[in-house]
């Protein structure tokens, strides 16, 4: 009897204390609760790398009358998967950032609804997919390529590699660092590039040679580029000792832009015969709360203003024909004429199996 009343009282204290604490924290917490989107605001769900100039976004908000909430939801892969899992009751109206390696997964899972964005006819034809249904709109493209440290090769009086085949030559032994294809999107892109080049049956043989030639694999781009690579600002600081790294064709302009003082010439170059093209798409989410706003937002993503703002914010190329590229890009970047490409369907059908065999071939 007694013990019962004790526990009751302990219970009461606990409840009283907690009610007080909850009330206390609710006062502060409620102000930032994510309220249901009203028709005046539109939510863009995207990955962590999304970036847009403030004035460009403001101009859109002013002309359209919508307030844009940007929800950065982790790295590209996780963001897509979360969007798929929560598609019945999505976190926003538009999703941006699904690339060609994940596109089929998004489409097969019915993530998007159909909408043909205004200005779609301005998009270069090579980027258009899903033409009949218009579930996604291409927004940008970029190339995953091997970058090299210019100083290293100049000092050694060695020509930097140009093609996939060059990378297996003895002259480039122990020089290349790449990313884990199962956890990193440039890592996967590089693998797909080799598969496109050497075919379904040939790429494994190529990777055997690459492994024998001392390729190093690390988990993510961060580590590869900023720690292992000798050509980047971060890598120099961390005393990286690999002069070849799998990165992007747009990495050299980045090295120029974020250096103080800015050098005349980029310290890194691109091996243009090792590139795989990545295209990023956006789409109107299936159960979007604010369909009208979402459509306006999609129109905005392929408008000339946004397309020309992108290069210096996300370091990707516009897909809209006739977009002006910033000087930094034309001067220090390279244009890749013949990147490797692969249809999203083919990627979807093979990705898992390829990554699996790649893992056991290269990592174990």
């Amino acid at each position: 009897m007694n013990s019962v009343s004790t526990t009751k009282k302990i219970t009461l204290t606990a409840v009283a204390v907690s009610v007080g604490l909850v009330a206390l924290s609710a006062c502060g917490g409620s102000s930032d609760s994510g309220d249901k989107a009203d028709s005046k605001s539109v939510t863009l769900v995207t990955h962590d790398s999304f970036n847009v100039s403030k004035d460009v976004l403001k101009a859109f908000e002013k002309s359209s009358g919508y307030k844009v909430d940007v929800l950065k939801d982790g790295d590209a892969g996780a963001a897509v998967n979360k969007a798929i899992l929560s598609k019945d009751n999505p976190q926003g109206d538009v999703f941006f950032g699904v690339d060609n390696t994940l596109l089929s997964r998004a489409l097969d899972n019915g993530l998007f609804q159909s909408y043909e964005a205004k200005g779609s006819d301005q998009i270069a034809s090579q980027f258009r997919v899903d033409q009949g249904k218009h579930r996604v709109t291409p927004v940008d493209s970029g190339d995953i390529c091997v970058n090299y440290d210019k100083k290293y090769f100049a000092d050694k009086k060695l020509a930097p590699p140009e093609s996939f085949a060059d990378l297996t030559k003895p002259a480039y032994k122990d020089l290349l660092v790449t990313e884990n294809a199962s956890t990193s999107s440039p890592g996967l892109g590089f693998l797909l590039g080799t598969a496109a080049q050497y075919g379904d049956d040939g790429w494994q043989g190529y990777w055997k040679k690459l492994k024998d030639n001392g390729v190093k694999v690390v988990d993510g781009w961060e580590q590869a580029y900023n720690e292992e690579f000798s050509g980047s600002a971060g890598g120099k600081k961390a005393k990286g000792d690999r002069p070849l790294v799998v990165s992007y064709a747009s990495s050299p302009p980045v090295e120029v832009r974020y250096a103080k003082p800015q050098p005349k010439e980029a310290p890194t170059g691109v091996a243009t015969g090792t590139c795989f093209r990545q295209v990023e798409y956006a789409g109107l989410l299936g159960n979007a709360q604010n369909e009208k706003g979402g459509k306006a937002l999609l129109d905005f993503l392929i408008s000339a203003e946004f397309q020309e703002d992108m290069p210096l914010n996300m370091f990707v190329n516009p897909v809209r024909e006739g977009s002006k590229l910033p000087e930094l890009f034309t001067e220090h970047g390279v244009s890749v004429d013949k990147p490797e490409t692969m249809a999203p369907k083919k990627i979807a059908d093979n990705r898992e199996q390829w990554v699996k065999s790649w893992t056991s071939l290269v990592l174990k």
Partner: protein, 536 residues
């Protein structure tokens, strides 16, 4: 008992079951064949094997390094003991991202060891094992040391008087008494290292992966929900087994031991042997715990133009682009979330502890062990489970702020229960009766008798729940709204971006988190009483 059961059913069992079902139920048909299929894969078996042996190795190493520490904290009296006990506990509540970062800064490229001797241990098993020791040192010191400090040394002395050698006396008297505590501590360490996520992900490199990391990879990267579901079940079974053994050792520990007041037993070390033991433990703590924490602080202060508060100042600006808000707001978010999580954990844990005190028997003991399960179930699974289950009325919580505290409270509850239980069980009902006989009203009797005894335990439990909530990462990272990051989430986000400035800010935020944890633990140390022999 109904409230905690309902809480766990709705916020733990249901989301976890839903995400597992999503993976294993295809077109309304359960695919149990997948279990055998997945477990049969050689790379899955490889992961299982690595998970198990690194946990065993981590546990052994932790015991080896921390047991002398437990002895020193239990038997010796020295200056700064209270502060030191708080400091060694800081790592335990630090988020794994921060710990991983500290060790990377110490053992990785350009780290301290690299600069001094050219030794690099990142992407080796050693980095993982050392980080695990760093993490779990306090578990052993507190669990084993707590009991050790209350063992009556006269029993051992008596044995020696009767002719036993020092070793025999220790082996036959002290060791058996300590045995169950050592076993319980080992199991806790094994549990924590078996489910290790952040440490392995940051320090392990592509070649090493635990079950928890693999579950994350299968869910978040590959969206292979069926493999993830099988792995979750495997981990669940393993953790269940560990907890069953744990419950059994706890019960054995509750068998009668002659305990004395710790302050009677502890004394200043005497003789060269004892002093050098104390010295050895201090050096171990300095190298293993203070050094990584120090490296974090050093990095946070080492700006582009020498030492200064550049990175801390930068935290107040939203210009970095990593977030829409200045990173410093994460501190405020975290405090609010942790406060709410503490309140929930106290309410649920308090009720559960009260129910467990009142009732006894097999069923209740089972419930006791069940309450520990959230510590061992993949946080990623819980996070994803929340995402797909709590999104429709009447439980449409996904876009509300309460979701994060709810997930954090799940890991806080076990700590509250473990801290409250021993104290609640120790309240003597006769005191209350005596008060009633002397004319006190029930309210007064409760206020005069129960409250003073329970209050401290309640505060300690609150402190632990608060610190653990503050550091929770795995589940929070999935459900925290991007515009409201918590401290650990903000640290991870900053670390994931290129550039010196982002790295420096991550270090600065980690340092702030560390200080907040340390302060709350120091406050706890002041409240610590000799009565509390809770496990943490």
């Amino acid at each position: 008992m109904a409230v905690p059961v309902a809480f766990f059913a709705v916020f733990f069992a249901y989301p976890v079951a839903a995400i597992v079902a999503r993976g294993l139920k295809v077109g309304g048909q359960w695919q149990f064949g997948r279990i055998a299929e997945v477990v049969g894969q050689s790379d899955v078996r490889h992961v299982l094997w690595f998970t198990t042996w690194q946990a065993l190795a981590s546990t052994a190493l932790t015991l080896l390094i921390a047991l002398p520490g437990a002895y020193v904290f239990a038997r010796f009296e020295f200056r700064g003991k209270q502060i030191l006990r708080a400091v060694v506990t800081v790592p335990f509540v630090l988020p794994t991202v921060v710990v991983g970062t500290a060790f990377l800064a110490l053992l990785g490229r350009g780290g301290l060891l690299d600069e001094m001797w050219g030794v690099r241990l990142d992407t080796t098993v050693w980095a993982i094992l050392l980080a695990h020791v760093f993490f779990n040192y306090a578990v052993v010191v507190r669990t084993v040391g707590g009991l050790w400090s209350q063992l009556d040394p006269r029993q051992e002395e008596a044995a020696r008087m009767l002719g036993a050698s020092r070793w025999t006396a220790w082996r036959t008297v002290t060791l058996p008494a300590l045995g169950p505590a050592v076993a319980a501590a080992s199991l806790m360490v094994f549990l924590f290292t078996f489910t290790s996520f952040g440490v392995v992900q940051i320090l392990g490199g592509p070649a090493y992966s635990t079950l928890e990391v693999e579950i994350y990879r299968q869910t978040a990267q590959l969206l292979d929900l069926s493999t993830a579901a099988v792995l979750t079940i495997v981990q669940f079974a393993a953790v269940g087994a560990i907890l069953a053994v744990h419950a059994w050792t706890v019960r054995r520990r509750e068998s009668v031991l002659k305990l004395v007041d710790a302050s009677v037993v502890a004394r200043r070390p005497r003789g060269a042997g004892q002093w050098s033991l104390l010295g050895g433990v201090m050096v171990t703590i300095a190298v293993l715990i203070l050094l990584p924490l120090g490296v974090l602080i050093e990095r946070s202060l080492s700006g582009p133009d020498g030492y200064g508060f550049t990175y801390y100042k930068e935290l107040t600006s939203a210009e970095g682009g990593a977030f829409l808000v200045p990173p410093i707001e994460a501190v405020w978010n975290s405090l609010q979330y942790a406060l709410a999580a503490t309140a929930i954990a106290l309410a649920i844990g308090g009720l559960a502890a009260a129910a467990l005190t009142r009732k006894a028997g097999r069923l209740v003991r089972g419930f006791d062990a069940l309450l520990m399960l959230p510590l061992g179930v993949s946080a990623v699974t819980v996070g994803f489970g929340f995402l797909i289950t709590l999104d429709k009325p009447p439980l449409d919580l996904r876009s509300t702020w309460i979701l994060v505290p709810l997930a954090q409270a799940l890991v806080g509850v076990p700590f509250v229960v473990r801290t409250m239980l021993p104290v609640l069980r120790a309240v003597d009902g006769r005191l209350r009766e005596a008060a009633a006989v002397l004319g006190a009203s029930p309210l007064r009797a409760w206020r005069e008798v129960d409250l003073p005894m329970v209050r401290r335990a309640l505060l300690i439990a609150a402190g632990f729940a608060f610190a653990v909530s503050l550091g929770e990462f795995g589940a929070t990272v999935f459900i925290a709204r991007p515009d409201n990051p918590t401290l650990p989430v903000a640290v991870a986000r900053l670390l994931g971006r290129a550039g010196e400035l982002n790295y420096g800010q991550a270090m600065a935020l980690s340092t702030i988190l560390m200080v907040v944890c340390a302060v709350s633990l120091l406050l706890l140390e002041r409240l610590r009483t000799d009565r509390t022999t809770g496990e943490f």
